[in-house]
Amino acid sequence: MPEIEIRGLTKVYHVGDVDVHALRGVDLSVDSGEFVAIVGPSGSGKSTLFNIIGGLAPPTAGTVSIENHDLQKMNDEDRTTLRRAVLGFVFQKYNLLPTLTAEENIDIARHIAGKYKEPLSAQFQELLKSLKLEGRLHHKPRALSGGEQQRVAIARALVNQPKLLLADEPTGNLDTENSQAVLKILRDLNRRMHQTILMITHNPEAAAFADRIVTMRDGRIVTA
């Protein structure tokens, strides 16, 4: 059973009197444990696809099934629950809460998921070691480098052991060295822990770290 099953997905934005067709009938399946990169130029619809799979925006038509949950039938509250229980996000701009330390940024994700009082899993503690954040967890984001912030964001996204990790241009704000480090972490996560990852990128070198590359253009998948 695929982790993500998308059939005939369309998304139309209404901008004034104009309808913008961001997605024009997307079909995509992602199996559990797969590392998939979605590539494409600006305006190809990859971010819209990311937002719909992430439960951040509702689809216009078609079906999107995540872990057998049909997003089309979900309201805002259901999608919030889905994000909390099934998904982890990594963003280009890291999106850490600036007032909290790295450790607290991870803790708040656990708190939102209602897992704050549970002990950290051995798997997550192993992940923390591999992220090489020792000695940096008590610092606030402004005291961390971009690479460190993105590694904290990855830890935050995975602390609740989500079924699916969604990464939106995770190396977009990083230099080559840090980009390589982050991509290796993602690949390692996928290989060792069988973490399903869907990564959006416009960078072919980053996409090459994935098992499968899906190319989008003008709201459609052109190669899958």
């Binding site: 992430g54 509250e77 629950t81 909390r84 999106n95």
Partner: protein, 361 residues
């Protein structure tokens, strides 16, 4: 964890936090200062009335506890003096100078007998027609000393400064006052001392019988009327100030929280992406508001010590009492006002679109 986030958020924007807390501080200070002032002023008036040494107070038919009606004939004093169980009776003429100021004409010998007499800090009693004695508070306020001349509805010569707490703040000879202001043989109020406090009620009944329509109070009853609830004007004024201060606090919190929501649009988007529900977001903002309200209330209570000290320096005739029994009421008003002020910003935050919020720079 939420508390940590709330605390860090407030710490992160100290100016915004300060503005929100100061709005509530101002609200609490306004309420507590006004209540403290009304109690202090009315309390000192009551204290001065008790300082007369009288057991019974007689006022004109059209008067109230805090106002004087048409003056009464002085002959009534002799009538009362002749009643059974009346040990002493003395009439006073209270002449208004301005809205809240007046001068009290007394028969010094009778007044001394009833009250135990003045304690002079400077100078001595009045002797001539234009002589005036003032209490320490009035002298301090007007910067007067014995020997000064002072226009107070008339040109007076200050002969002495006395300790406060006896009937009035300004005194002149009653006969002189009657002549100066054309109130010959008239008094505004009569103070009566009975031979035994046990006879107070029977003497009051006797006076009411003989002086039909006049207002006759025991001293205990009379001073009990010196409360804000006994003075409709003060009570109404207090309500207005509470209303205005609640609006000030509401606006302070509304602005602070609205700014907070705008400033933290992206952070709210991050929380939503992580699966935070609208209730979770609202919870954060309401906790921030409650913390602001708590800090503002504590600052407001502390500030009343400052206003009290300030008033004691610049307006000693306006004593402000500390009113601990009102602390919880002021806190409740500020908290309710603050929570109402946080509702709209909170709803705006809770309804924020996660994608738009994440795209916000």
């Amino acid at each position: 964890m939420i508390n940590r986030l709330v605390f860090e958020n407030l710490k992160h924007r100290p100016v915004r936090t300060l503005v929100g807390a100061l709005g509530i501080c101002l609200q609490v200070t306004m309420i507590l200062t006004l209540v403290g002032l009304s109690r202090g002023v009315l309390g000192s008036m009551a204290e001065r009335q008790r300082g007369s040494g009288a057991d019974i107070v007689i006022k004109a038919p059209d008067s109230s506890a805090l106002s004087y009606g048409l003056n009464m004939p002085e002959a009534i004093v002799d009538l009362v003096r002749g009643m059974p169980h009346v040990a002493q009776a003395t009439g006073n003429l209270v002449h208004p100078i301005s809205n809240l100021d007046s001068i009290t004409g007394i028969n010094l010998a009778e007044f001394n007998r009833m009250s135990g007499g003045f304690k002079f800090i400077e100078g001595g009693p009045f002797r001539a027609q234009n002589d005036m004695v003032v209490d320490r508070i009035f002298a301090q306020q007007k910067k007067l000393h014995a020997g000064d001349t002072f226009n107070y509805g008339h040109d007076w010569h200050i002969t002495g400064v006395v300790e406060e707490g006896k009937l009035s703040r300004t005194f002149a000879d009653m006969q002189a006052l009657q002549e100066i202001f054309g109130e010959n043989k008239k008094v505004s109020v009569i103070y009566v001392k009975v031979d035994d406090p046990k006879n107070t009620d029977s003497v009051i009944a006797d006076i009411e019988h003989r002086l039909e329509g006049h207002k006759v109070y025991s001293m205990a009853e009379f001073v009990s009327l010196f409360t804000a609830s006994g003075v409709p004007l003060v009570e109404g004024f207090t309500e207005v100030v509470i209303g205005v201060s609640a609006i000030v606090g509401f606006l302070g919190v509304f602005l602070a929280m609205y700014t907070a929501v705008l400033e933290r649009t992206r952070e709210i988007g991050i929380l939503k992406a992580m699966g935070a529900s609208p209730g979770y977001i609202m919870d954060i903002l309401l906790r921030e508001t409650l913390l602001l309200a708590f800090v503002g209330t504590v600052l407001g209570i502390l500030a009343t010590y400052g206003t009290r000290a300030l008033l004691a320096q610049i307006a000693p005739n306006l004593p402000q009492m500390l009113v601990p029994d009102w602390y919880w009421k002021a806190a409740l008003i500020s908290i309710v006002g603050a929570l109402i002020g946080a509702i709209y910003p909170g709803m705006k935050a809770a309804r924020q679109d996660a994608i738009e919020a994440l795209a916000y720079d």
